[in-house]
Amino acid sequence: MAELNINERQAGDVTVLDMSGKITIGEGSVALRTAIRRLLEEGKKRILLNLAQVSYIDSSGIGELVSSYTAINKEGGQLKLLNLTQKLQDLLTITKLLTVFDVYESEAEALNSFK
């Protein structure tokens, strides 16, 4: 089984990536980077990452979230985060990234925020 599984679905013009597993150095980080690059190539620039099932993330994974955020912003798009685990929320808090990312606990609220 892959370290990180990413399931893609469309909710209006927002692409939701339901992620499960680990975003860590190597396979997990690369899988996220590849998915985001592909979406940008397809012109999908409104992206919501559902992280509810992400059990673990390291500094490389955090870095990949930041890279995704800046790459999407550069293309005039938006990246938002949904359903952070407590551990991920703690990591984003200590790294001061919680002030950078737009974070939601409700998918409906997150989707509405793109409008």
């Binding site: 860590t24 150095i25 190597g26 500094s59 930041v66 790294t95 990234l97 950078v100």
Partner: protein, 137 residues
Amino acid sequence: MTGETTELSLPSRIDTVATAAAAVADFVGRSGISDDAAFGIDMAVREAVTNAVLHGNRQDEDKTVNIILKSSPDAVEISVHDQGPGFNPEEVPDPTAQENILKASGRGIFFMRSFMDEVDWSIRPGGGTTVRMLKRR
């Protein structure tokens, strides 16, 4: 338990990070430390081994990453040795400084310091760098 020491010698590959983390999780599980502390140790070990593989040994498979795990009634101590040239941890930029927040890398040492009670680096007499990390019970 009164104390236990384990040593590991692993190749300088990215998959060593997961191998080391699994071995440390076993060790920490036997040590009877709290779940919260175990989570912090896991984070710190992954970052330390990542640094040893990537920055210390530069993924040179002729070089190894050696890990020593010690548990005592007071603490769990983990040392990670690489065969690289070393660096000055004081020169590593603060990843939470405004100008660094959106950088894609540079948070590993910050996590190690955040999750462990003591972290220090030393250059070994025979070459290479050792990072020693301590988590008190």
